[in-house]
Symmetry: C2
Subunit: 234 residues, 2 copies
DNA sequence: GGACAAAGTTGATCCAGATCAAACCTCGCG
DNA sequence: CGCGAGGTTTGATCTGGATCAACTTTGTCC
């Protein structure tokens, strides 16, 4: 593994407060691999063998049932995913695929659990990470149940705007059909929701979004940290 | 606190593997209280001061935004709730109210975090509990996004049937309007969904449900541990 | 640079589930 | 025992978002 990547991982909240020996042991057991776009990394129902860390690229977490599919989250570098399944030693509830060529570190779940047992700083960080993941899914469920399609899109755009440093203009980080699936609607409905938001201070041109009237958008979506997920999801 | 209640708490997975001194310290700091029905225990947005343990009665976790409300979960004895907010020292994302007269133990969040730091068995149990909570919310979100109203109800009834020991007949544990809200639909739609399920092996009479044709119901809902939440929720 | 595929948009139509309104139960209580 | 309030069901109607189909745009690969 490259020194630089190692440092990126070391600086993640999850690993920041580990002792060096414990961290070294984890990294020693880990695999660093590059995967092409559209590769299925994990299939839901398999038992969790690895904690994944995305160093470059992007990974989609999705779920399916019968012939239906839905996007649950997008993981951007540098971040980990499916910690919960690893800690429980349980089957993955979601599948994962690369959205583009991605570099990913795989840490054997058994080593993660061993590190948890030995290193208190890591144990604490694990709980913080799990708690925040838990809370983000509570937010996702609240969003789905309490807001309609237009409001969900508006809230999403508002949050993206904040995440890009309060800039009024930004570029959508993923293609629209994926965003539609994440927000729980069809691509057609997303397209119409964008049109509807023109009356609420949002201008869209291809992938480029401009919030022309923040007050109007805020009035519609009532942004709220109890519903809106900060940071790269997706 | 009564000896019996103390034992019930001690036997919860979360507390089972604590050292006795650590458990005693936690219990020493805890309050044991009885609340009437319909009392708001927690309001979303407040900072988490207590981990709650339901000993008797039942507690509804719900969320609201603007003038809309939705039920997120029902906690049955003996179980804890809002561990994630306590560990993060963050605002509650959900409100909580008693559904009936309930006995609840309140453990100061600061003591919970201290116990986590000192007692490894508790730390491990905390992570297991959080992970499972996390996974249950993933399931809830998957359910909402992948199944329609009728399928959600069918899956719910299937799971309740399993939870009551595979019995074909059982009584709904909560009133229907609450169930409707939990399943993400209106009471009217729930009523119609019940009627629609008559063609899929479900008979309903008031609060009493009978699964007359398990194969037919299973064919409709395709029960699946990756979507369906076992145990008392709600 | 042209051609082909995939993503996105637009329009027409449909339908699951919401809303509104009116019974109809059920159960606690004076 | 009747009465009232809240829960539930039923019916009529409406509508947000899905579906289906056609068209346009964008990106990719010889």
């Amino acid at each position: 593994m490259r020194e630089e990547d190692r440092n990126d991982i070391r600086n993640l909240p999850l690993f920041r407060n580990m002792t060096s020996p414990a961290f070294d042991a984890l990294m020693h057991a880990a695999y660093d691999q590059v995967f092409p776009a559209q590769l299925e990394l994990i299939r839901q129902g398999e038992v969790a063998n690895f904690l994944h860390v995305v160093l470059e690229g992007a990974v989609e977490l999705y779920a399916n049932w019968q012939d239906r599919d839905t996007t649950m989250a997008v993981v951007q570098p540098v971040a980990t995913f499916i910690l919960a399944a690893c800690m429980r030693d349980a089957p993955y509830l979601m599948s994962a695929r690369t959205l583009r060529r991605s570099r990913i570190v795989l840490i054997p779940a058994v080593d993660v659990r061993a590190a948890f047992a030995r290193d208190h700083g890591f144990a604490l960080a694990t709980v913080q990470e799990l708690s925040e993941g838990y809370r983000n899914f509570v937010r996702h469920a609240k969003n789905l149940k309490l807001r309609n399609a237009r409001e969900r899109l508006g809230a999403y755009l508002w949050q993206r705007s904040l995440d890009t440093g309060g800039a009024q203009g930004f570029v959508l980080p993923q293609e629209k059909r994926l965003l539609a699936s994440y927000l729980g609607m069809t691509p057609e409905s997303l397209s119409r929701a964008f049109k509807a938001l023109r009356d609420h201070g949002v201008h869209i041109d291809g992938m480029r979004v401009t919030i022309t009237d923040p007050a109007a958008l805020a009035a519609l979506v009532q942004p709220n940290t109890l519903l809106d997920t900060a940071l790269n999801i997706p």
